[in-house]
Symmetry: C3
Subunit: 158 residues, 3 copies
């Protein structure tokens, strides 16, 4: 008997943060058909950026891996808010990760594994996603990482 | 009695620029199903880049806000060209804004509000979009901003 | 009598590389409805990055144009692996090209033409795509270019 995604989240001991509130005239996510496009999210908890700086400068790959996990949890908090429950996720289609990179830093994939690993741990096969790993010059609020998700939604309640 | 999007545009006194012409073997936008993917656009008028440079170096947030507005108008000019009329817009799904950022510039969201605010002013609820705010190292032609839109299209004429 | 895309590929004398294997918990591509989202790909052959460095520093536009072609072939190798045959491509919807850019390099479009030209040569009208040309601060493995594709798939076998 397999667990639902919400049960799995609980079993993993993960508590999602409050979904971040956009501070301007955009919205946390927008659905078209069965695709949910989630806005860019940062490693925020309780409305505050938890970690700042660039990879290869202030931050190590390990710091970045942890930041990627927290950033993903913010994205999932938005997904739950939009859908009512993570159980309505059909598939994680694509994740794009923008990693604030000091000159010469080229290990963006290892940083993003913090988010990718968690997606697969939580959603199993449905969490296996296409991915882009990119190095950004700068990110809002000096965040080290910004993640964007495209999620396919179960059209009928599961 | 609510105005159509084209009427609203006129009421706001906005005249769209000529849609930018791709200078290579790509096209201004591509539709798949009811999603219209608009190519990256720059702050261009009459075929010329109107403003260049990076935020936090040559340009202030106020300069960037104005550049974001003009860039968005170029995207909307493409949308009108593709659909025949802005009235066929069902929803602005997502906007991604790439802001050319000097070292340490982290206020990409304030720059992109120039485009986000205009989307909501023009399209109302249908203009509320998911958004990514990113800092680019460099952009084509030394443009300060490049915007990408995903638009959901009314399948029947409205 | 028109050639199929696979026949056209052969006629052009193009041999696709082995599709790149993700080195982490993501997958090469993910399909939702009739849209295939291809993960970011680099200029790789036989599992090795063929060219590294930044445009405007170690690399010229001509180097970048060639790298863009090879990068695209990697994306197409994934498309064939996912669909069984390039003949199932209905349309190339959008290509995003991230070009690792030294300070002041602003000719990302000319670099990406290496990929865009090939798409149109191979797929004809179905290869005409929306495009984003962006300058990245850094890319994984010090690659000079990373390309992302969205492809619309023929739902019935053609």
């Amino acid at each position: 008997m397999s667990m639902s995604f919400e049960e799995k989240l609980t079993a993993l001991g993960i508590v999602l943060p409050s979904p971040p509130k956009p501070v301007a005239t955009y919205i946390p996510a927008s659905q078209a058909g069965d695709l949910l496009f989630v806005s860019g999210v940062l490693p925020i908890r309780d409305g505050q950026l938890v970690v700042s700086g660039k990879l290869g400068e202030e931050l190590t790959v390990e710091n970045g891996y942890e930041a990627a996990k927290l950033t993903l949890l913010n994205a999932l908090a938005i997904v739950r808010q939009e859908l009512g429950s993570l159980n309505r996720v059909k598939k994680i289609v694509r994740m794009t990760g923008h990693v604030a990179s000091g000159v010469g830093f080229a290990d963006q994939p290892a940083v993003l594994n913090g988010a990718s690993d968690l997606l697969v741990e939580l959603f199993g096969e449905a969490g296996r996603h296409a991915r882009l790993a990119l190095g950004a010059a700068e990110l809002p609020l000096h965040a080290p990482i910004e993640i964007e998700l495209i999620v396919q939604v179960q059209q009928e309640d599961s």
